[in-house]
Amino acid sequence: MEISEVQKIAHLARLSLSDDDATRYAGELNNILELVERMNARDTDGIRPMSNPLDATQGLRADEVTETIDRELFQSSAPLAEGGLYLVPKVID
Protein backbone atom coordinates (compact mmCIF):
# COMPACT_ATOMS: atom_id res chain seq x y z
CA MET A 1 0.00 0.00 0.00
CA GLU A 2 1.28 3.45 -0.93
CA ILE A 3 0.93 6.43 1.40
CA SER A 4 -1.58 8.00 -0.98
CA GLU A 5 -3.69 4.88 -0.79
CA VAL A 6 -3.50 4.95 3.00
CA GLN A 7 -4.75 8.51 2.93
CA LYS A 8 -7.59 7.52 0.60
CA ILE A 9 -8.63 4.68 2.91
CA ALA A 10 -8.34 6.96 5.91
CA HIS A 11 -10.67 9.43 4.25
CA LEU A 12 -13.20 6.71 3.44
CA ALA A 13 -13.17 5.89 7.15
CA ARG A 14 -13.23 9.57 8.13
CA LEU A 15 -9.89 9.44 9.91
CA SER A 16 -7.39 12.20 9.45
CA LEU A 17 -3.76 11.19 9.42
CA SER A 18 -0.66 13.33 9.46
CA ASP A 19 1.95 12.37 6.86
CA ASP A 20 4.08 10.81 9.61
CA ASP A 21 1.13 8.75 10.82
CA ALA A 22 0.27 7.75 7.27
CA THR A 23 3.83 6.53 6.69
CA ARG A 24 3.82 4.55 9.91
CA TYR A 25 0.42 3.04 9.20
CA ALA A 26 1.44 2.18 5.66
CA GLY A 27 4.29 0.08 7.02
CA GLU A 28 2.14 -1.67 9.60
CA LEU A 29 -0.72 -2.27 7.19
CA ASN A 30 1.65 -3.73 4.61
CA ASN A 31 2.95 -6.18 7.19
CA ILE A 32 -0.58 -7.22 8.04
CA LEU A 33 -1.42 -7.58 4.36
CA GLU A 34 1.53 -9.93 3.97
CA LEU A 35 0.00 -12.07 6.69
CA VAL A 36 -3.33 -11.92 4.89
CA GLU A 37 -1.71 -13.08 1.65
CA ARG A 38 -1.44 -16.54 3.20
CA MET A 39 -5.13 -16.97 2.40
CA ASN A 40 -4.20 -17.39 -1.26
CA ALA A 41 -2.35 -20.61 -0.52
CA ARG A 42 -5.70 -22.39 -0.42
CA ASP A 43 -7.91 -22.99 -3.42
CA THR A 44 -11.55 -22.06 -2.73
CA ASP A 45 -13.17 -22.48 -6.14
CA GLY A 46 -16.83 -23.30 -5.79
CA ILE A 47 -16.90 -23.00 -2.00
CA ARG A 48 -20.02 -21.20 -0.78
CA PRO A 49 -19.14 -18.18 1.43
CA MET A 50 -20.19 -18.51 5.07
CA SER A 51 -21.47 -15.42 6.87
CA ASN A 52 -23.04 -17.03 9.92
CA PRO A 53 -21.10 -19.87 11.58
CA LEU A 54 -24.22 -21.88 12.22
CA ASP A 55 -25.72 -21.22 8.75
CA ALA A 56 -28.75 -19.95 10.64
CA THR A 57 -31.59 -18.02 9.01
CA GLN A 58 -33.39 -14.81 9.98
CA GLY A 59 -36.32 -14.72 12.36
CA LEU A 60 -39.13 -12.22 11.81
CA ARG A 61 -40.59 -9.76 14.26
CA ALA A 62 -44.34 -9.07 14.49
CA ASP A 63 -45.24 -5.60 13.19
CA GLU A 64 -45.99 -3.87 16.48
CA VAL A 65 -44.94 -0.69 18.19
CA THR A 66 -42.91 -1.89 21.17
CA GLU A 67 -40.64 1.06 21.91
CA THR A 68 -41.46 4.04 24.11
CA ILE A 69 -39.03 6.82 23.46
CA ASP A 70 -37.47 8.90 26.19
CA ARG A 71 -35.96 11.66 24.10
CA GLU A 72 -34.62 13.55 27.13
CA LEU A 73 -32.72 10.50 28.26
CA PHE A 74 -31.28 9.75 24.83
CA GLN A 75 -30.26 13.35 24.23
CA SER A 76 -28.66 13.77 27.65
CA SER A 77 -25.45 12.32 26.14
CA ALA A 78 -25.68 14.39 22.96
CA PRO A 79 -22.70 16.65 22.25
CA LEU A 80 -25.10 19.31 20.94
CA ALA A 81 -28.86 19.23 20.73
CA GLU A 82 -31.56 21.89 20.62
CA GLY A 83 -35.32 21.80 20.21
CA GLY A 84 -35.15 18.03 20.08
CA LEU A 85 -32.79 18.10 17.10
CA TYR A 86 -29.21 16.85 17.06
CA LEU A 87 -26.99 19.67 15.79
CA VAL A 88 -23.97 19.21 13.55
CA PRO A 89 -21.98 21.81 11.59
CA LYS A 90 -24.01 23.16 8.73
CA VAL A 91 -24.11 20.97 5.63
CA ILE A 92 -24.57 22.61 2.28
CA ASP A 93 -26.45 20.56 -0.24
Binding site: A13, R14, L15, L29, R42, T44, L54, S76, Y86
Partner: protein
Protein backbone atom coordinates in the same frame (compact mmCIF):
# COMPACT_ATOMS: atom_id res chain seq x y z
CA UNK B 1 -13.62 -14.74 51.32
CA UNK B 2 -12.68 -13.71 47.82
CA UNK B 3 -11.24 -17.12 47.02
CA UNK B 4 -14.39 -19.00 47.90
CA UNK B 5 -16.58 -20.62 45.29
CA UNK B 6 -19.94 -19.18 44.34
CA UNK B 7 -21.66 -22.18 45.89
CA UNK B 8 -19.79 -21.57 49.12
CA UNK B 9 -20.66 -17.87 49.09
CA UNK B 10 -24.30 -18.71 48.42
CA UNK B 11 -24.27 -21.05 51.39
CA UNK B 12 -22.65 -18.38 53.51
CA UNK B 13 -25.42 -15.96 52.63
CA UNK B 14 -28.04 -18.56 53.25
CA UNK B 15 -26.74 -19.58 56.68
CA UNK B 16 -26.25 -15.98 57.68
CA UNK B 17 -22.48 -16.37 57.97
CA UNK B 18 -22.36 -12.97 56.32
CA UNK B 19 -24.78 -10.62 54.63
CA UNK B 20 -24.77 -9.60 50.99
CA UNK B 21 -23.82 -6.11 52.14
CA UNK B 22 -20.78 -7.45 54.01
CA UNK B 23 -19.83 -9.55 51.03
CA UNK B 24 -20.15 -6.52 48.78
CA UNK B 25 -18.00 -4.38 51.10
CA UNK B 26 -15.35 -7.05 51.19
CA UNK B 27 -14.95 -7.11 47.44
CA UNK B 28 -15.16 -3.34 47.14
CA UNK B 29 -12.29 -3.18 49.62
CA UNK B 30 -10.29 -5.60 47.48
CA UNK B 31 -10.82 -3.35 44.47
CA UNK B 32 -9.88 -0.33 46.50
CA UNK B 33 -6.68 -1.95 47.71
CA UNK B 34 -5.37 -3.35 44.46
CA UNK B 35 -6.88 -1.45 41.57
CA UNK B 36 -4.34 1.36 41.58
CA UNK B 37 -1.73 -1.22 40.72
CA UNK B 38 -3.71 -3.63 38.60
CA UNK B 39 -5.96 -1.05 36.91
CA UNK B 40 -8.54 -3.68 36.04
CA UNK B 41 -11.62 -1.67 36.99
CA UNK B 42 -12.45 1.50 35.08
CA UNK B 43 -15.60 2.41 36.99
CA UNK B 44 -16.49 1.18 40.47
CA UNK B 45 -20.20 1.47 41.20
CA UNK B 46 -19.95 1.32 44.98
CA UNK B 47 -23.19 3.14 45.73
CA UNK B 48 -25.27 1.10 43.32
CA UNK B 49 -23.63 -2.10 44.49
CA UNK B 50 -24.38 -1.45 48.14
CA UNK B 51 -27.97 -0.62 47.25
CA UNK B 52 -28.30 -3.86 45.32
CA UNK B 53 -26.67 -5.81 48.16
CA UNK B 54 -29.06 -4.25 50.65
CA UNK B 55 -31.99 -5.15 48.42
CA UNK B 56 -30.71 -8.73 48.39
CA UNK B 57 -30.46 -8.80 52.17
CA UNK B 58 -33.99 -7.38 52.38
CA UNK B 59 -35.32 -10.11 50.11
CA UNK B 60 -33.68 -12.73 52.29
CA UNK B 61 -35.01 -11.12 55.45
CA UNK B 62 -38.54 -10.98 54.08
CA UNK B 63 -38.48 -14.52 52.75
CA UNK B 64 -39.08 -13.12 49.29
CA UNK B 65 -38.12 -15.13 46.22
CA UNK B 66 -34.36 -15.21 45.68
CA UNK B 67 -32.52 -15.29 42.34
CA UNK B 68 -30.01 -18.03 41.65
CA UNK B 69 -27.14 -15.60 42.15
CA UNK B 70 -28.73 -13.40 44.76
CA UNK B 71 -26.16 -11.28 46.54
CA UNK B 72 -23.18 -12.64 44.56
CA UNK B 73 -20.85 -9.82 43.44
CA UNK B 74 -19.73 -9.56 39.82
CA UNK B 75 -17.95 -7.21 37.45
CA UNK B 76 -19.00 -6.45 33.88
CA UNK B 77 -16.54 -5.92 31.06
CA UNK B 78 -16.95 -2.28 30.04
CA UNK B 79 -18.23 -3.37 26.62
CA UNK B 80 -21.64 -4.21 28.09
CA UNK B 81 -24.11 -1.33 28.23
CA UNK B 82 -25.25 -0.57 31.76
CA UNK B 83 -28.11 1.88 32.20
CA UNK B 84 -27.14 4.98 34.13
CA UNK B 85 -23.53 3.86 34.42
CA UNK B 86 -20.68 4.90 32.15
CA UNK B 87 -19.89 2.38 29.40
CA UNK B 88 -16.53 3.33 27.88
CA UNK B 89 -15.38 0.27 25.87
CA UNK B 90 -11.92 1.30 27.06
CA UNK B 91 -12.03 4.23 24.65
CA UNK B 92 -11.75 8.00 24.74
CA UNK B 93 -14.60 7.95 22.22
CA UNK B 94 -17.01 6.79 24.94
CA UNK B 95 -15.13 7.98 28.01
CA UNK B 96 -18.20 9.83 29.27
CA UNK B 97 -20.96 7.85 27.60
CA UNK B 98 -23.72 6.86 29.98
CA UNK B 99 -25.87 4.21 28.39
CA UNK B 100 -29.65 4.71 28.58
CA UNK B 101 -30.29 0.97 28.52
CA UNK B 102 -28.98 -2.32 29.91
CA UNK B 103 -27.49 -5.05 27.77
CA UNK B 104 -29.47 -8.30 27.90
CA UNK B 105 -26.53 -9.97 29.70
CA UNK B 106 -26.61 -7.22 32.34
CA UNK B 107 -30.38 -7.41 32.66
CA UNK B 108 -30.40 -11.18 33.11
CA UNK B 109 -27.72 -11.20 35.77
CA UNK B 110 -29.47 -8.38 37.59
CA UNK B 111 -32.73 -10.33 37.47
CA UNK B 112 -31.00 -13.20 39.26
CA UNK B 113 -29.92 -10.91 42.06
CA UNK B 114 -26.22 -10.64 41.24
CA UNK B 115 -24.60 -7.44 42.53
CA UNK B 116 -22.61 -5.37 40.01
CA UNK B 117 -19.48 -3.84 41.55
CA UNK B 118 -18.26 -2.02 38.45
CA UNK B 119 -16.99 -2.10 34.85
CA UNK B 120 -13.69 -3.63 33.90
CA UNK B 121 -10.82 -2.42 31.73
CA UNK B 122 -10.39 -3.77 28.24
CA UNK B 123 -8.56 -3.24 24.97
CA UNK B 124 -10.36 -0.42 23.20
CA UNK B 125 -13.52 -1.67 21.49
CA UNK B 126 -12.36 -5.22 22.25
CA UNK B 127 -9.50 -4.87 19.78
CA UNK B 128 -6.35 -6.31 21.23
CA UNK B 129 -4.77 -9.21 23.09
CA UNK B 130 -2.96 -7.46 25.92
CA UNK B 131 -5.25 -4.77 27.42
CA UNK B 132 -2.48 -2.29 26.59
CA UNK B 133 -4.69 -0.57 24.01
CA UNK B 134 -6.96 1.08 26.54
CA UNK B 135 -7.54 4.79 26.92
CA UNK B 136 -7.55 4.18 30.66
CA UNK B 137 -4.07 2.68 30.72
CA UNK B 138 -3.04 -0.95 30.67
CA UNK B 139 -4.42 -3.50 33.10
CA UNK B 140 -1.78 -5.67 34.74
CA UNK B 141 -1.42 -9.33 35.41
CA UNK B 142 -1.90 -9.94 39.17
CA UNK B 143 0.69 -12.77 39.08
CA UNK B 144 3.38 -10.44 37.85
CA UNK B 145 2.48 -6.82 37.34
CA UNK B 146 5.18 -6.35 34.69
CA UNK B 147 3.22 -8.68 32.46
CA UNK B 148 -0.01 -8.24 30.56
CA UNK B 149 -3.22 -9.88 31.75
CA UNK B 150 -4.16 -10.62 28.14
CA UNK B 151 -6.97 -9.09 26.14
CA UNK B 152 -9.28 -7.82 25.20
CA UNK B 153 -11.05 -8.86 28.46
CA UNK B 154 -7.89 -8.31 30.47
CA UNK B 155 -9.60 -6.34 33.19
CA UNK B 156 -12.19 -9.03 33.91
CA UNK B 157 -9.65 -11.87 33.95
CA UNK B 158 -7.25 -9.97 36.15
CA UNK B 159 -10.05 -8.92 38.49
CA UNK B 160 -11.29 -12.47 39.02
CA UNK B 161 -7.75 -13.73 39.58
CA UNK B 162 -7.12 -10.97 42.12
CA UNK B 163 -10.36 -11.62 43.94
CA UNK B 164 -12.21 -8.44 43.01
CA UNK B 165 -15.48 -10.34 42.40
CA UNK B 166 -16.85 -13.86 42.43
CA UNK B 167 -17.12 -13.82 38.66
CA UNK B 168 -16.97 -11.42 35.73
CA UNK B 169 -18.37 -11.14 32.25
CA UNK B 170 -16.24 -10.88 29.16
CA UNK B 171 -16.48 -11.08 25.40
CA UNK B 172 -14.55 -13.23 22.97
CA UNK B 173 -14.17 -12.51 19.26
CA UNK B 174 -10.86 -14.27 18.52
CA UNK B 175 -9.84 -15.38 22.00
CA UNK B 176 -10.58 -12.39 24.21
CA UNK B 177 -11.97 -14.47 27.08
CA UNK B 178 -9.86 -17.60 26.77
CA UNK B 179 -6.45 -15.99 26.32
CA UNK B 180 -6.72 -13.65 29.36
CA UNK B 181 -8.15 -16.56 31.35
CA UNK B 182 -5.01 -18.54 30.50
CA UNK B 183 -2.70 -15.61 31.27
CA UNK B 184 -4.37 -14.92 34.61
CA UNK B 185 -4.92 -18.47 35.81
CA UNK B 186 -8.73 -18.45 35.81
CA UNK B 187 -11.45 -20.36 33.98
CA UNK B 188 -13.01 -18.53 31.05
CA UNK B 189 -15.83 -19.77 28.80
CA UNK B 190 -16.82 -18.55 25.34
CA UNK B 191 -20.23 -20.08 24.53
CA UNK B 192 -21.47 -21.21 21.11
CA UNK B 193 -22.13 -18.30 18.75
CA UNK B 194 -25.74 -17.29 19.32
CA UNK B 195 -25.97 -18.85 22.79
CA UNK B 196 -25.69 -15.51 24.60
CA UNK B 197 -27.45 -12.36 23.40
CA UNK B 198 -25.32 -9.67 21.81
CA UNK B 199 -27.92 -6.99 22.44
CA UNK B 200 -26.20 -4.23 24.38
CA UNK B 201 -22.76 -5.75 23.87
CA UNK B 202 -20.97 -3.10 21.84
CA UNK B 203 -20.09 -4.78 18.58
CA UNK B 204 -16.56 -5.45 17.37
CA UNK B 205 -17.13 -8.21 14.80
CA UNK B 206 -20.78 -9.19 14.62
CA UNK B 207 -20.39 -12.73 13.26
CA UNK B 208 -17.65 -13.62 15.75
CA UNK B 209 -18.43 -11.81 19.03
CA UNK B 210 -19.87 -13.79 21.92
CA UNK B 211 -20.39 -12.87 25.56
CA UNK B 212 -19.11 -15.22 28.26
CA UNK B 213 -17.90 -15.68 31.79
CA UNK B 214 -14.72 -15.68 33.93
CA UNK B 215 -14.68 -17.43 37.29
CA UNK B 216 -12.19 -19.44 39.33
CA UNK B 217 -13.63 -22.80 38.36
CA UNK B 218 -15.95 -24.53 35.94
CA UNK B 219 -18.37 -25.08 38.81
CA UNK B 220 -18.57 -21.29 39.23
CA UNK B 221 -18.90 -20.59 35.52
CA UNK B 222 -21.98 -22.82 35.32
CA UNK B 223 -24.50 -20.74 37.32
CA UNK B 224 -23.33 -17.57 35.55
CA UNK B 225 -23.84 -19.21 32.18
CA UNK B 226 -27.28 -20.35 33.30
CA UNK B 227 -28.14 -16.72 33.92
CA UNK B 228 -27.08 -15.36 30.56
CA UNK B 229 -27.67 -18.17 28.07
CA UNK B 230 -30.83 -18.33 25.99
CA UNK B 231 -32.72 -16.83 23.08
CA UNK B 232 -33.21 -13.05 22.93
CA UNK B 233 -35.66 -11.74 20.31
CA UNK B 234 -33.73 -8.46 20.23
CA UNK B 235 -30.70 -10.21 18.69
CA UNK B 236 -31.27 -11.72 15.23
CA UNK B 237 -28.20 -13.93 15.64
CA UNK B 238 -29.48 -15.32 18.93
CA UNK B 239 -30.24 -19.04 18.82
CA UNK B 240 -33.47 -20.76 19.79
CA UNK B 241 -31.60 -23.96 20.52
CA UNK B 242 -32.78 -25.06 23.98
CA UNK B 243 -30.53 -24.24 26.92
CA UNK B 244 -29.31 -26.75 29.51
CA UNK B 245 -28.92 -26.44 33.23
CA UNK B 246 -25.18 -26.07 32.92
CA UNK B 247 -24.59 -27.03 36.56
CA UNK B 248 -26.52 -30.26 36.32
CA UNK B 249 -23.95 -32.45 34.60
CA UNK B 250 -20.70 -31.18 36.10
CA UNK B 251 -19.97 -34.46 37.84
CA UNK B 252 -20.80 -36.75 34.94
CA UNK B 253 -18.48 -39.66 34.26
CA UNK B 254 -15.92 -39.19 31.48
CA UNK B 255 -15.78 -42.83 30.50
CA UNK B 256 -16.48 -43.34 26.82
CA UNK B 257 -15.65 -39.74 26.02
CA UNK B 258 -13.27 -39.25 23.10
CA UNK B 259 -11.01 -36.19 23.35
CA UNK B 260 -8.90 -35.13 20.38
CA UNK B 261 -5.44 -33.59 20.55
CA UNK B 262 -4.44 -31.75 17.37
CA UNK B 263 -1.15 -32.65 15.73
CA UNK B 264 -0.86 -29.30 13.94
CA UNK B 265 -0.93 -27.45 17.28
CA UNK B 266 2.38 -28.84 18.48
CA UNK B 267 4.75 -26.97 16.22
CA UNK B 268 7.84 -24.86 16.74
CA UNK B 269 5.79 -21.85 17.63
CA UNK B 270 4.49 -23.48 20.82
CA UNK B 271 6.38 -22.78 24.07
CA UNK B 272 7.58 -26.08 25.54
CA UNK B 273 6.20 -25.35 29.01
CA UNK B 274 2.75 -24.82 27.48
CA UNK B 275 3.07 -28.03 25.48
CA UNK B 276 4.00 -29.90 28.64
CA UNK B 277 0.93 -28.58 30.49
CA UNK B 278 -1.36 -29.65 27.68
CA UNK B 279 0.17 -33.12 27.58
CA UNK B 280 -0.17 -33.35 31.36
CA UNK B 281 -3.81 -32.33 31.06
CA UNK B 282 -4.32 -35.05 28.49
CA UNK B 283 -2.87 -37.58 30.91
CA UNK B 284 -5.16 -36.38 33.71
CA UNK B 285 -8.20 -36.67 31.49
CA UNK B 286 -7.11 -40.14 30.44
CA UNK B 287 -6.91 -41.12 34.11
CA UNK B 288 -10.41 -39.73 34.53
CA UNK B 289 -11.66 -42.22 31.96
CA UNK B 290 -11.59 -40.34 28.67
CA UNK B 291 -9.97 -41.72 25.55
CA UNK B 292 -7.37 -39.39 24.07
CA UNK B 293 -7.04 -39.47 20.29
CA UNK B 294 -4.61 -37.76 17.92
CA UNK B 295 -6.45 -35.81 15.24
CA UNK B 296 -5.61 -33.38 12.45
CA UNK B 297 -7.08 -29.98 11.71
CA UNK B 298 -5.68 -29.37 8.25
CA UNK B 299 -6.81 -25.78 7.87
CA UNK B 300 -5.01 -24.50 10.99
CA UNK B 301 -2.52 -22.36 9.04
CA UNK B 302 -5.28 -20.31 7.43
CA UNK B 303 -7.09 -19.35 10.58
CA UNK B 304 -5.32 -16.14 11.60
CA UNK B 305 -5.50 -14.30 8.25
CA UNK B 306 -9.09 -15.49 7.67
CA UNK B 307 -10.11 -14.34 11.13
CA UNK B 308 -8.49 -10.93 10.83
CA UNK B 309 -9.97 -10.11 7.43
CA UNK B 310 -13.50 -10.94 8.55
CA UNK B 311 -13.17 -9.36 11.98
CA UNK B 312 -11.62 -6.16 10.74
CA UNK B 313 -14.02 -5.74 7.82
CA UNK B 314 -17.04 -6.09 10.11
CA UNK B 315 -15.45 -3.87 12.75
CA UNK B 316 -14.68 -1.08 10.29
CA UNK B 317 -18.39 -0.86 9.55
CA UNK B 318 -19.58 -1.36 13.13
CA UNK B 319 -17.47 1.55 14.32
CA UNK B 320 -18.82 4.01 11.75
CA UNK B 321 -21.58 5.05 14.13
CA UNK B 322 -18.95 6.72 16.35
CA UNK B 323 -18.96 10.03 14.55
CA UNK B 324 -19.44 12.66 17.25
CA UNK B 325 -22.97 13.47 16.08
CA UNK B 326 -25.37 11.96 18.63
CA UNK B 327 -23.19 10.78 21.54
CA UNK B 328 -19.58 10.17 22.41
CA UNK B 329 -16.55 12.35 21.82
CA UNK B 330 -16.92 15.35 19.54
CA UNK B 331 -13.88 17.45 18.65
CA UNK B 332 -13.86 21.07 19.78
CA UNK B 333 -15.06 23.77 17.37
CA UNK B 334 -15.57 21.67 14.27
CA UNK B 335 -15.29 23.87 11.19
CA UNK B 336 -17.45 21.66 8.99
CA UNK B 337 -19.20 18.33 9.05
CA UNK B 338 -16.17 16.58 7.58
CA UNK B 339 -13.95 18.23 10.14
CA UNK B 340 -16.27 17.01 12.90
CA UNK B 341 -16.14 13.44 11.62
CA UNK B 342 -12.41 13.32 11.02
CA UNK B 343 -11.21 15.00 14.17
CA UNK B 344 -13.76 13.36 16.48
CA UNK B 345 -12.83 9.91 15.20
CA UNK B 346 -9.09 10.56 15.02
CA UNK B 347 -9.07 11.96 18.54
CA UNK B 348 -11.50 9.43 19.95
CA UNK B 349 -9.91 6.22 18.65
CA UNK B 350 -6.49 4.84 19.62
CA UNK B 351 -3.87 3.53 17.20
CA UNK B 352 -4.87 -0.13 17.20
CA UNK B 353 -8.51 0.72 16.50
CA UNK B 354 -7.51 3.05 13.68
CA UNK B 355 -5.22 0.41 12.21
CA UNK B 356 -8.04 -2.13 12.22
CA UNK B 357 -10.62 0.26 10.82
CA UNK B 358 -8.30 1.09 7.94
CA UNK B 359 -7.50 -2.50 7.18
CA UNK B 360 -11.16 -3.45 7.33
CA UNK B 361 -12.11 -0.53 5.10
CA UNK B 362 -9.43 -1.59 2.64
CA UNK B 363 -10.62 -5.20 2.60
CA UNK B 364 -14.14 -4.07 1.65
CA UNK B 365 -13.17 -1.31 -0.75
CA UNK B 366 -13.94 -1.34 -4.44
CA UNK B 367 -12.01 -4.02 -6.23
CA UNK B 368 -10.78 -5.82 -3.13
CA UNK B 369 -13.94 -7.47 -1.81
CA UNK B 370 -13.49 -10.79 -3.62
CA UNK B 371 -9.81 -11.10 -2.83
CA UNK B 372 -10.19 -10.40 0.87
CA UNK B 373 -13.64 -10.57 2.45
CA UNK B 374 -15.10 -12.89 -0.18
CA UNK B 375 -12.10 -15.21 0.04
CA UNK B 376 -12.12 -15.20 3.82
CA UNK B 377 -15.81 -16.16 3.92
CA UNK B 378 -15.02 -19.16 1.75
CA UNK B 379 -12.10 -20.16 3.96
CA UNK B 380 -14.41 -19.79 6.94
CA UNK B 381 -16.58 -22.55 5.55
CA UNK B 382 -13.55 -24.79 5.04
CA UNK B 383 -12.34 -24.17 8.58
CA UNK B 384 -15.81 -24.85 10.01
CA UNK B 385 -16.10 -28.06 8.02
CA UNK B 386 -12.67 -29.09 9.26
CA UNK B 387 -13.93 -28.93 12.84
CA UNK B 388 -17.21 -30.63 11.93
CA UNK B 389 -15.20 -33.51 10.50
CA UNK B 390 -13.12 -33.70 13.66
CA UNK B 391 -16.26 -33.86 15.77
CA UNK B 392 -17.46 -36.94 13.93
CA UNK B 393 -14.42 -38.68 15.40
CA UNK B 394 -14.13 -37.06 18.84
CA UNK B 395 -16.50 -35.39 21.33
CA UNK B 396 -14.14 -32.64 22.44
CA UNK B 397 -10.77 -31.20 21.50
CA UNK B 398 -7.99 -30.45 24.00
CA UNK B 399 -5.59 -27.74 22.87
CA UNK B 400 -3.23 -25.07 24.10
CA UNK B 401 -4.93 -21.70 24.66
CA UNK B 402 -1.90 -19.57 23.85
CA UNK B 403 1.54 -20.20 22.31
CA UNK B 404 3.24 -18.88 25.44
CA UNK B 405 2.47 -17.48 28.89
CA UNK B 406 1.73 -13.77 29.36
CA UNK B 407 4.17 -11.42 27.59
CA UNK B 408 5.74 -8.46 29.25
CA UNK B 409 4.03 -5.09 29.03
CA UNK B 410 5.29 -3.27 25.95
CA UNK B 411 6.59 -6.41 24.27
CA UNK B 412 3.97 -6.63 21.52
CA UNK B 413 2.14 -3.31 21.71
CA UNK B 414 3.84 -2.03 18.55
CA UNK B 415 4.04 -5.38 16.79
CA UNK B 416 0.56 -6.06 15.47
CA UNK B 417 1.51 -9.00 13.26
CA UNK B 418 3.02 -11.04 16.06
CA UNK B 419 0.20 -10.07 18.35
CA UNK B 420 -2.29 -11.33 15.78
CA UNK B 421 -0.37 -14.56 15.31
CA UNK B 422 -0.69 -15.30 19.02
CA UNK B 423 -4.40 -15.91 18.39
CA UNK B 424 -3.53 -19.08 16.49
CA UNK B 425 -5.23 -21.46 18.93
CA UNK B 426 -8.29 -19.41 19.66
CA UNK B 427 -9.52 -17.54 16.60
CA UNK B 428 -10.56 -20.57 14.53
CA UNK B 429 -13.11 -21.40 17.21
CA UNK B 430 -14.86 -18.07 16.67
CA UNK B 431 -14.87 -18.62 12.91
CA UNK B 432 -16.65 -21.93 13.43
CA UNK B 433 -18.92 -20.54 16.19
CA UNK B 434 -17.91 -23.33 18.58
CA UNK B 435 -17.99 -23.17 22.39
CA UNK B 436 -14.62 -23.31 24.15
CA UNK B 437 -13.10 -22.68 27.52
CA UNK B 438 -9.67 -22.15 28.99
CA UNK B 439 -8.80 -23.63 32.38
CA UNK B 440 -5.67 -23.27 34.49
CA UNK B 441 -3.35 -26.18 33.66
CA UNK B 442 -0.07 -25.24 35.27
CA UNK B 443 2.50 -22.54 35.75
CA UNK B 444 5.65 -21.50 33.96
CA UNK B 445 8.97 -21.68 35.73
CA UNK B 446 8.68 -17.93 36.22
CA UNK B 447 5.38 -18.33 38.03
CA UNK B 448 3.04 -17.27 35.26
CA UNK B 449 -0.17 -19.25 34.73
CA UNK B 450 -0.59 -21.57 31.76
CA UNK B 451 -4.01 -22.51 30.41
CA UNK B 452 -5.35 -25.46 28.47
CA UNK B 453 -8.31 -25.14 26.12
CA UNK B 454 -11.30 -27.40 25.69
CA UNK B 455 -13.29 -27.01 22.47
CA UNK B 456 -16.72 -28.53 21.92
CA UNK B 457 -19.23 -28.96 19.11
CA UNK B 458 -22.08 -26.43 18.89
CA UNK B 459 -24.14 -26.12 22.09
CA UNK B 460 -21.96 -28.55 24.04
CA UNK B 461 -21.25 -26.14 26.91
CA UNK B 462 -22.45 -28.69 29.48
CA UNK B 463 -19.92 -31.20 28.23
CA UNK B 464 -17.11 -28.63 28.30
CA UNK B 465 -17.89 -27.67 31.89
CA UNK B 466 -18.20 -31.32 32.84
CA UNK B 467 -14.72 -32.18 31.53
CA UNK B 468 -13.19 -29.03 33.02
CA UNK B 469 -14.79 -29.85 36.34
CA UNK B 470 -13.46 -33.40 36.21
CA UNK B 471 -9.99 -31.96 35.52
CA UNK B 472 -10.37 -29.49 38.39
CA UNK B 473 -11.42 -32.29 40.77
CA UNK B 474 -8.12 -34.01 40.04
CA UNK B 475 -5.80 -31.00 39.92
CA UNK B 476 -5.18 -27.89 42.00
CA UNK B 477 -4.05 -25.36 39.41
CA UNK B 478 -7.35 -23.50 39.61
CA UNK B 479 -7.02 -23.13 43.37
CA UNK B 480 -3.81 -21.13 43.15
CA UNK B 481 -4.18 -17.43 43.70
CA UNK B 482 -1.71 -14.64 43.02
CA UNK B 483 -0.04 -12.98 45.99
CA UNK B 484 -1.45 -9.47 45.84
CA UNK B 485 0.04 -8.59 49.19
CA UNK B 486 3.04 -7.05 47.50
CA UNK B 487 0.99 -4.20 46.07
CA UNK B 488 -2.28 -4.18 47.97
CA UNK B 489 -2.79 -0.89 49.76
CA UNK B 490 -4.37 -0.85 53.17
CA UNK B 491 -7.63 0.99 52.74
CA UNK B 492 -7.76 4.46 54.15
Amino acid sequence: MHNRTIASLATGLQTGEFSATELCRHFLARIDACNDTLNCVITTTAEGALEAAQASDDRRANNAALGELDGIPLLHKDVFCTAGVRTTCGSKMLANFVSPYDATVVERLHQRGAVMLGKTNMDEFAMGSTNEHSYFGPARNPWNTEHVPGGSSGGSASAVAAGFAAFATGTDTGGSIRQPAAFCGVTGLKPTYGRVSRYGMVAFASSLDQGGVFARSAADVAPALNAIAGFDPRDSSSSQHPTDDYAANLAQDLRGLRIGVVREHFSDGLDSEVADCVHAAAATLREAGATLVNISLNETALTVPTYYVIALAEASSNLSRFDGARYGHRADNPQSLEDMYERSRSEGFGDEVKRRIMLGTYALSAGYYDAYYGKAQQLRRLITEDFARAFTDVDLILAPTTPAPAFRLGELVDDPVNMYLSDIYTCAINLAGLPALSMPAGQSASGLPIGAQLIGAHFQESRLLNVAHAFQCRTQHHLAAPDTGAYAEISR
